[in-house]
Symmetry: C2
Subunit: 339 residues, 2 copies
DNA sequence: CTGAAAGCGCTTACAG
DNA sequence: CTGAAAGCGCTTACAG
């Protein structure tokens, strides 16, 4: 890679490196004729300053890192969109990484982003409830932060960092109450990997609210699957194989609910006539499903915007932005059919 | 940002910069005891080499740029996923940019990626059919390529670069033939911005195949909208307002078809009983819609993988990977109701 | 206002 | 095998 350098520009403009640098950085203290020459030379040579050299000389970079579990998951796609919008407003580039829910890979990416001297590192994926992982993550984050790096996390993490905290537990509880309100007493839960804080919080909130009403789903009515469309599909099939269907099914994420919806249809079951179905997140497409999905609405793009904004505006102490999660009732849930 | 430096490591290990560098780069020519000391020091200091300094010294960087129109569009999300997977295999980080279909922003991002000395720049978004834009893009791409940068584009571009070319025109033609085969003669098209090559190619292929059968949709049956869910929703409403519905509607992208499907349902129309509907792309969710959507299948993740692979494996001359597009018939299309 | 020079944090011939 | 030194492409006090 032999790109044009500042030296080339200075030479063809007949000025010193310093002057060329000043012009290109918008300093106003340069004589007009020299400025012209430098601009012309840069233009003629299609010059672009080497961002690495600038980062080194200025000891600051124009990149920010965003780590998520999977960009192609609509939840993260929406969060990334919001975060990238804010980054663009600040003339920052974002390095995006997908861990595919591999804890080790998450840590490796943080390390890489640290090497890149990213201005900030955003952890958009749910944390893993695993002390060893937390320690390893901390071992990367701490030196990064001590060196001036900024960290912001989405959802509950143990990391000492600014955080955007969607009310997963409260949202799930509200949903449970709404479903109880429709008359349901017989529930199943399609859960994701319990090691993920987000999953744990949602399951917990849902169970707690049911318990308040004296309702407890049987253990075999809580099915674990991948936090994906296919995971939801498989979990729903597993549920069907375990015996009589409950009147209402809660999938801890919309992507799982989508898979479940199709599994139910394939089994000849109608939603909500035969079984009510609810999800969580309110990713864009669920309102276009048939029936439109009842879910817990999170302002996804907004979450991403806040996350980036938090990371970019240093504060004396840690900040926690709690974000309410609201139940959105749609046609996929209805009162249970009288037995 | 004052991170630990190689100098710190060398000092605490009691060796020279060169030796420390060698150990950390895996050189085998370093005495075992010194190697140990260096490793220990690096570990103790939580040292991470400065990627900018490395890029400068080695004249090569570990990043590759990916420019798309909108990460939160499932089409790009899937393409990005594939591209990122390949990047991860090569230990490369990807800088992701969304242009939101703003031609100027696209060029600005190419320029920024050039400044980052990205190893490769991938243009995943459809090109704009606009000579001024093409010139401006070329003005960025040419110096980048001359300096050794690699460029790969997805879908038809005029740029002199490696290309992955989904058969948009052929796929749309095949779809048209399949729909004619069902008995349809009365079509509408929900089209995106005609300045996009992808849109132009799909509309053209569809029209050509209809023409071969002596069928021509009336001009007011071709409605233009944004290439989004909302754009499809609006276009479908506009179509409805223009008079009697055709028997079959082709949306040039699945995201538009999703919006159209909901618009039809809101209007009390049943798909496919009252109107058949088909899309293009086969983004993951369309198989879970009710009815599942007939569409033209593109191997989206694969597209992204190929794009990245192409960019990473330099070749003596330009390569064009043509990717077939296959019709996938699902329940959203059916023979027209006898009049 | 302008330029020579030092420095950012690495890598890598080149000596020894 | 190891180290001193030059160099990567910039920026920015410091002189003048």
């Amino acid at each position: 890679m032999t790109h044009t350098t500042l030296g080339d520009v200075a030479r063809t403009a007949g000025v010193s490196l310093a002057t060329a640098s000043r012009v290109l950085n918008g300093s106003t203290t340069v004589r007009a004729d020299l400025r012209e020459k430098v601009m012309a030379a840069a233009e003629a040579l299609a010059y672009r300053p080497n961002a690495h050299a600038q980062a080194l000389a200025r000891a600051s970079s124009q990149v920010v890192g965003l780590i998520c579990h999977d960009v192609s998951d609509p939840y993260f796609a929406a969060v990334a969109r919001g975060a990238m919008r804010v980054a663009a407003d600040h003339d920052l580039m974002v390095m995006l990484a997908s861990t595919f829910r591999d804890p080790d890979r998450e840590i490796a990416y943080v390390s890489t982003l640290r090497a890149q001297r990213a201005r900030a590192i955003l952890l958009a994926g749910s944390a893993f409830q695993d002390p060893a992982w937390e320690r390893a993550l901390d071992a990367e984050l701490t030196p990064y932060q001590e060196a001036g790096g900024r960290v912001a996390v989405l959802s509950r993490h143990r990391a000492r960092a600014d955080a955007v905290l969607p009310d997963n537990r409260g949202g799930a509880a509200s949903l449970a109450r709404a479903l109880l309100g429709l008359g349901h007493r017989d529930f199943a839960v399609l859960a994701g990997p319990p090691a993920l804080t987000t999953v744990a919080d949602r399951v917990r909130g849902f169970r707690e609210a049911l318990a308040e009403a004296g309702v407890r789903p049987a253990p075999d009515r809580v099915v674990t699957g991948d936090l994906t469309r296919d995971g939801g599909h498989a979990a729903a099939r597993e549920l069907l194989s375990r015996g009589p269907l409950p009147t209402c099914v809660f999938a801890v994420a919309d992507v799982m609910a989508i898979g479940a919806l199709t599994a139910f249809r394939e089994a000849g079951l109608r939603v909500p006539e035969d079984v009510s179905l609810a999800g969580f997140d309110d990713i864009p497409v669920v309102a276009d499903l048939t029936p439109p999905l009842t879910t817990v609405t999170l302002p996804l793009e907004d979450l991403g915007e806040r996350l980036m904004t938090l990371a970019l505006a240093p504060a004396p102490r840690r900040r926690h932005h709690r974000v309410p999660a609201e139940v959105t009732l749609r046609a996929s849930t209805a009162p249970p059919r009288p037995a």
